[in-house]
Symmetry: C2
Subunit: 145 residues, 2 copies
């Protein structure tokens, strides 16, 4: 899905929920949907402040929480403290996380869906989300070794 479509989708969802469409929220959704990487709250805050000096970190957190509760944003916790966010693919999918440079990439796997199905059927849980994180050295960092 291209960023523009996703942007409009999120705006639409907020409208449905009768949430106020403040400039801050619109700007955050803009940045979130156009980010190729998986930024932390602080990184989003930095990117926003450049073009939106009045934005505050607290508002970033509040808006991310709102979108998270709506199921429109994925929270990825790497073991580096801060949570990372993915607003482009709200459906779960595997991530590749480099243990050296901390970069996060999306991974494709045909088996992810089947595994979710298998677990759903055998566990008795009603599954509402999953996180599939793979840790390792990315190609760049392997060379640097």
């Amino acid at each position: 899905m291209d960023p523009e479509t996703r942007f409009n989708e999120l705006i639409q969802r907020l409208r449905q929920r009768q949430c106020r469409l403040t400039p801050q929220r619109i700007a955050l959704i803009r940045v979130l949907t156009s980010s190729e990487d998986h930024p932390t709250a602080a990184q989003l805050y930095d990117r926003l402040r450049a073009q939106f000096p009045t934005m505050s970190l607290g508002t970033v957190y509040k808006t991310l929480d709102l979108l998270f509760e709506m199921g429109e944003v994925l929270e990825i916790s790497v073991s580096d403290g801060a949570a990372h966010y993915d607003g482009r693919k709200p459906f779960p999918h595997p991530h590749l996380i480099c243990i050296r440079c901390r970069k996060i990439r999306d991974a494709e796997s045909s088996l992810a869906e089947n595994m979710t199905l298998e677990i759903t059927q055998t566990s008795g849980f009603r599954i509402v989300g999953h996180r599939l994180d793979f840790y390792g050295l990315c190609p760049d960092c392997r060379q640097a070794e």
Copy 2:
């Protein structure tokens, strides 16, 4: 693997590393290997303090870090702040996490290994670990709905 065997294995690994076998470390490994659930550092501390009043939370963290770096303990980050630890199955495996009662259970899946293989081959990453967490409502909490 039964708790006793795993306990001895961990003690052995520490010896190999020439680490001191202090009473604190032995007690923590005892609790860790006999825990059916996935306790946080604070929970481990509470369980230890009962029979070991001099134990400090800092030591719990330091010992967990040591075992984690040795690859003998899994760190599971739920989105509830604190990290949970699993010392019984150091090889990665899927976890089921209840979003209501926060309980964490082990899940079995035949596909987990294949998926890891697939990702390893297509990503260019050298994979050293993975985390497969499934979020949902456990059978108990589904009934309570």
